[in-house]
């Protein structure tokens, strides 16, 4: 039962990864690969231990914990990139408002060009 639940959750992560591909290919790809590894470990628990030993971690459970930390970091990174995108939109909006409200000095100099030697 737990295997089905975990597989469902990791499948959702994979779908999420597809969507995030548009925001950042690096983050999307990393999330997809990690979710795919997770599904493998759920159905082949021995592979987690074997893989952990190859990496020098020791136990599969420890490996999963470390991977969880990496995934958390990637999600924070992804959130940060989304916030930057929102900032870009907000910046453009503020810029247009600002330019529409430009104030000229009280004494306008006219359209005299500057002399260049």
């Amino acid at each position: 039962m737990i295997q089905l639940l975990l597989t469902g959750a990791l499948a959702l992560v994979m779908l999420f990864a597809f969507r995030e591909w548009r925001v950042s290919r690096a983050v999307g790809l990393a999330l997809f690969l990690i979710a795919a590894c997770g599904i493998t470990f759920v159905w082949l628990p021995g592979s987690a231990n074997a893989f952990a030993r190859v990496l020098g971690v020791g136990r599969g459970a420890d490996l999963v914990l470390y991977v969880y930390c990496v995934v958390s970091f990637l999600l924070i990174l992804n959130m940060s990139l989304k916030i930057r995108t929102q900032h870009e939109v907000m910046t453009e909006l503020a810029r247009r408002i600002a330019i529409a409200g430009v104030r000229a000095p009280p004494r306008v100099e006219g359209d005299r060009p500057d002399a260049v030697a």
Binding site: L81, V102, D114
Partner: protein, 227 residues
């Protein structure tokens, strides 16, 4: 003697104490001074306006890079021949601008970049700041291939075509590196010109610290991840 329409863009945030003098000084030579007030909490906008600048006021604080891009957008809309970027804290010498424009015309390039480290330049930067700035220039050389000696100098002259093409997305301090990245990527022609940078207690207090270099590197890395 030829004539050109020159706009000076000065991004400013809480510069009410200095902006009046800076605008009056540059306005003696250049008639079109644009101060982009980046959501200041003090009287920066009214002081700049009274000193003779056109004032564009961001409704919220966005950062120096965002203010610079706003100024570029405005000047491009005004069909400027040359757009000069100039810092608000009084560290630049307006007399350098004429030399930069003359060099830009003579060399037939699209961008003139100020450098405080070329022969003929002058600066009173501390040894620590010099080291930091030279490290930044080396980083820029390594990442963009541009052979610049000063990567974070706010004094630049852009021809209209160059200003039209450059699009700053780094709202904060990383815009200086971003401009150079875009110059390299779009293969805009450029020349470095020796300029004077005079730090005062005021400009030191307002300027960047060593920690800002870390922020700049993180901002540049995040922008690369996005693209």
């Amino acid at each position: 003697m030829t004539t050109r329409t020159i706009f000076l863009v000065i991004p400013a945030y809480n510069e009410g104490d200095a902006i009046g003098d800076v605008v009056r000084t540059v306005a003696r030579r250049f008639t079109r001074v644009v101060v982009v007030d980046d959501g200041s909490r003090d009287a920066t906008a009214s002081v700049a306006l009274a000193a003779g600048a056109h004032v564009i006021a961001h409704p919220v604080n966005l950062g120096q890079g965002a203010a610079l891009q706003t100024g570029l957008d405005y000047c491009v809309g005004q069909a400027a021949d040359y757009i000069v970027t100039f810092d608000a804290d009084g560290q630049h010498d307006p007399d350098d601008v004429d030399g930069m424009i003359a060099t830009l015309e003579r060399e037939g390039v699209q961008v003139a970049l100020g450098s405080r480290f070329l022969a003929g330049a002058s600066t009173n930067a501390t040894r620590a700041r010099r080291l930091l700035l030279k490290a930044a220039a080396l980083f820029t050389r390594a990442t963009t291939g541009l052979k610049v000696t000063d990567a974070h100098n706010g004094l630049r002259v852009l021809r209209l075509e160059a200003a039209r093409r450059i699009r700053l997305r780094q709202n904060r301090m990383a815009h200086a590196s971003e401009i150079l990245e875009q110059i390299a990527r779009m293969e805009l022609t450029y020349v470095e010109c020796p300029v004077t940078i005079r730090y005062t207690d005021y400009s030191r207090a307002k300027g960047q610290s060593g920690w800002d270099a870390i922020h700049i590197l993180i901002d540049l890395a995040l922008q690369r991840l996005k693209s």
